[in-house]
Symmetry: C2
Subunit: 462 residues, 2 copies
């Protein structure tokens, strides 16, 4: 695709569409929108606009489409695969001012939100009503960004991904059309599922201007345990047995010993340094939950766990999960001279131990610094590596390790990305993962965005 | 779209693609494929073919596409909205011989099936492994048909719809391409979600030749109750309160008194003839479940139920659900002179009482025979009406009532179909329900099936 650089005429035209303080070509603003939390190279937009409404977005997109100017949406910049980096420059639409919770229909278990709402802010607002929006990517992600990447997190094993929580969207299409799609009904078999087509499309098919999300009741009670294992492989087997048991955990997080040591050091925790599983159950009554926890203990002991520590109170549980959610940043902080790369793959249940084994073998063989954090209940593993900035040789090794791990996940029947999205880094695996269906994705892209202005340079291999 | 009738040349060409006993133009065969379980007018295909493989389907579709011959898939003919009726004639592909369960990967909670597998047969096979495929439309539906209509049923409130259980599909596209889509991984954020685009598209975008479905653990224990109420409206409020409580029932089925009376008479049950709610909970331990049931009882009594009968054993529970699943057929049988019309709408939780009220008012005002069966936990209501065959005046009334009910559901923010699909009968509501997004559905249809050969005359208004 050929795009045009922003001219003075474009800048004047775009500026006239919004209040003056919501358009910027200032250097510091452009720098702030040149990079997400990944280690992909910076690329600056030519202008940043903060829209306030679907109508404004529509005007901007219509203009950009006519002038062949790229448009990339921006939530909080917390993506991990370069998803919102404007690699072909053009306009970034920053949604931070479209951050209103428009309506909470408590009794319908629904909320209408603008795309810039940070999911934790929505959940803070919902807490006293006994409700919450379950997907939890951890970072201060916006709901618009979560929709773009089909984000998920530690509780997805029980509650599902973002895709399971979007009922209705107002989207601005590449031609500027404002389209409402989906229904407020909890279920439907009416027509084609445009909602699921938009969710996970990383802003390449349309731009979300508003969403109706599904909520669920906050579990009245929980029980949690920290379990240590002699090896990650043994822990992997325990994960599998817990899944098979039908105990239906709300979290099954597995951390390698390096990650646990780091959490201890940085967050003042006192966990045994070993492969560690965090298990959590959600439910109605404490009696039920302690019974379920006992069954989980039996399974873990049967698999040969070293320690099963249950009876965690709310405070300790929250501290651990906060530390878990913050691990990405903690790793970055504790390796100040390093660039951090976080990769994300997922495989079917039974292949999870093999994947973990491959990762450990590769990390050891190449002597790189690697942390494994797994949403083990979903077969979803993140390998977070730290390599010296500018050390070409080390980064060659790291790139080879990551490539081996992703290729292995695909060979095991898995996916190149469980929750971070394709963005920039996983484009090269799309042909292998999707085969002939990639052509149909490309045809969809051409149908929805014939000029390719929406977040160009993402998802599809060049 | 203009289609060509089958010529002698076409018949010879198609016949050569399959064994002779898998191609028929026999009158009785054509008659058997002219009608589903709805009351939509019969329309016969010109030929029926029983394919055995994706390759055979591909050859047939490629030929039909070149010759502009309609192709309609056929599962068990149990649809309720004319979905598989070949209204533009042409070829029916009957999947009854593609009914192999290809692989059960128990430890991945997955099964690979051909589209003609009847879901109960899969579940019979899974039972002794402690697993099941949860969507339960009731009739002896095939999994291919369930995928086409995004079928659901009595346990959807807890387990979700068919769309939540499809991981991977082999689809034959209109141009004959055989495309594998989706992943065996439990979660993914890789590329566009083609799976959800195919599910619920009623065979108009492609033909499913194979599916990988997700399974879940059979709940070790259940508890169930039958609750009667002074009015359907009061029952509706109890449903809502149970949902809000977070008790997470596995079934919340509400039947009008006429339906209960019929179940008693036809199935030798002894239920009180009143608006009746069947509640079921699934879980791990009986202690937990009886606790949850007590909470449900408290809620129902608080709302003024007449009777709360818990402690149902497995045999009684199964009899009631069998009777509930058989209600469609029971109604047909008990009105031998009548044509039966089953309509299907769904609304957000809070609007459910209003919808129910509209239905009752309309049925009473027009003095028609109407039964209401609701998957109340999902806001999904079926109004099943019986009208004398050929009685033009009565059917005019019925059509008006149905139109009022569907329009009301849409006005309440609901959908024209919760689970039966659009088929023939709901096409006229698509513009109202979907607005501008209907155009995007039409564009998708043109992209996937430019000659419109796949199940023409469905979903879209003429």
């Amino acid at each position: 695709m050929k795009f045009n650089p922003l001219t003075e005429t474009d800048i004047n035209a775009l500026q006239s569409m919004v209040d003056t303080d919501r358009f910027s070509t200032g250097q510091s603003v452009l720098n702030l929108h040149a990079k997400d939390q990944s280690s992909h190279p910076r690329s600056r937009p030519e202008a940043v606009i903060w829209p306030l409404s679907a109508a404004e977005i529509s005007n901007i997109v219509k203009y950009a489409n006519a002038q062949r100017i790229p448009i990339t949406g921006w939530g909080s910049g917390s993506s991990l695969e370069g998803n919102p980096i404007p690699v072909r420059h053009g306009i970034v639409l920053d949604f931070s001012r479209m951050n209103r919770i428009l309506e909470i229909r408590e009794e319908d278990f629904q909320a209408d939100v603008e795309p810039g709402v940070v999911y934790q802010d929505l959940n803070d607002k919902l807490k006293h009503r006994g409700l919450f929006f379950p997907p939890d990517p951890g970072a201060r992600a916006t709901i618009g960004g979560m929709i773009a990447n089909n984000a998920s997190g530690t509780r997805t094993v029980y509650y599902g991904s973002t895709k399971d929580y979007v009922l209705r969207l107002t989207a601005v299409m590449a031609n500027g059309d404002i389209v409402e799609m989906g229904t407020r009904s909890a279920k439907t078999s009416s027509g084609y599922d445009l909602i699921h087509l938009m969710v996970g499309s990383e802003g390449t098919l349309g731009i979300v201007a508003r969403a109706t999300v599904r909520l669920t009741g906050l579990p009245p009670e929980f029980s949690a345990a920290v379990v240590t294992f002699p090896s990650v492989e043994v822990a992997g087997k325990a994960v599998f047995e817990i899944k098979r048991s039908g105990l239906n955990p709300a979290a099954l997080e597995l951390l390698g010993p390096e990650a646990v040591a780091l959490m201890n050091r940085e967050e003042n925790l006192d966990l045994s340094v070993a492969p560690t599983l965090f298990i959590e159950f959600h439910g109605i009554t404490t009696g039920q939950l302690s019974e379920v926890l006992e069954m989980a203990e039996e399974i873990c002991r049967g698999q040969g766990c070293l320690e099963f520590r249950s009876g965690l109170g709310r405070a300790e549980r929250n501290r651990i999960f906060k530390a878990r959610h913050g691990l990405g940043e903690t790793i970055t902080r504790s390796h100040p001279d390093c660039r951090i790369l976080s990769t994300d793959v997922a495989v079917p249940n039974t292949r999870y131990p093999e994947l973990i084994e491959t990762i450990h073998r590769e990390v050891d063989a190449h002597q790189i610094i690697g942390y494994t954090l797994s949403h083990a209940g979903d077969g979803n593993v993140h390998l977070v590596v730290a390599g010296k900035k500018g050390d070409r040789q080390e980064w060659d090794k790291i790139d080879r390790v990551v490539d081996t791990v992703v290729s292995r996940a695909l060979a095991l029947g898995g996916t190149a990305t469980g929750e971070h999205g394709v963005g920039i880094g996983k484009r090269k695996y799309m042909a292998t993962e999707h085969g002939a269906s990639l052509q149909w994705m490309q045809r969809l892209k051409s149908l929805f965005d014939p000029n390719g202005i929406l977040n160009p340079g993402k998802i599809f291999p060049e």
